[in-house]
């Protein structure tokens, strides 16, 4: 039989977290899927809609600006913005 007791093991702290969150996601997806199937099958009466999640707290202006610039750079990198559009938007974000 394998001797596992007291071994250093392979899953470090980071991997442990990944295992736990990965399994939790898999389980909640399944529960969701099953819930939907059940509802369809039984033609259950519509449940009152859950209240929408509260909007995320507004990020501090500095972070937000960085986020916008990053997004902008992504769009540019994807070829969705011309150089002029990129420059104009960048000026707008920095100026705001």
């Amino acid at each position: 039989m394998p001797q596992r007791f007291g071994r250093p093991g392979l899953l470090g702290t980071i991997a442990r977290t990944a295992v736990i969150s990965g399994t939790a996601t898999a389980v909640s997806n399944r529960v969701e899927r099953r819930g939907m199937q059940r509802q369809t099958a039984a033609q259950a009466p519509q449940m009152p809609a859950a209240p929408p999640p509260p909007p995320p707290a507004a990020a501090p202006a500095g972070t937000d600006r960085v986020g916008q610039l990053t997004q902008l750079a992504d769009l540019k990198a994807q070829g969705l913005l011309t150089d002029e559009e990129f420059a104009a938007e960048k000026a707008r974000i920095l100026g705001s």
Binding site: F5, R7, G9, L10, L11, I20, T23, V27, Q78, G79
Partner: protein
């Protein structure tokens, strides 16, 4: 330490946790793992099947245990005890009732071969990174957008 697993020559090692509904091992994943092992893409180093019953009791099946031995032995009959009891407890703690997971540790033999080729060509591997799935999807989707 087993003579054919050496710390200085082993390639990169991955651990996969494959979760299943229900707590019986049905072995459907075995042929795929066996193929990866046989064509030397990976070398399975360790594996265990962890399951949690309705009453939250946990059981661990090993390669040698009757019931799974026949199926798991098709994957490999050599096993190094690299996963610790603590590792398996982490997995079992994360499992819901009536679910199970196959925990597999493998050496990426293809990467060891790549590394040898790199050394042979006097190159230097400066980065080897698993790219997050989302980034790959985004990049591929962008191909169609242009």
């Amino acid at each position: 330490m087993p003579s054919d697993l050496q710390a200085d020559t082993v390639g990169p090692v991955d651990v996969a946790v494959i979760a299943f509904e229900g707590n019986r091992f049905d072995g459907r994943i075995v042929p795929a793992l066996r193929e990866l092992q046989q064509n030397e893409t990976v070398r399975i180093l360790d594996l265990a099947f962890v399951s949690k019953a309705r009453d939250s009791s946990v059981s661990v099946l090993e390669l040698a245990d009757p019931g799974v031995a026949e199926t798991l032995r098709q994957v490999t009959d050599v096993q190094f005890d690299l996963l610790s009891d603590e590792d398996l407890r982490t997995v079992s703690d994360s499992l819901g009732e009536e679910s199970s997971a196959l925990v597999v540790a493998w050496e990426n033999t293809w990467a060891a071969r790549l590394a040898a080729a790199v050394r042979g060509s006097e190159g230097e591997l400066v980065m080897l990174e698993r790219i997050p799935r989302d980034a790959v999807v985004e990049a591929i989707t962008a191909l169609g957008a242009t």
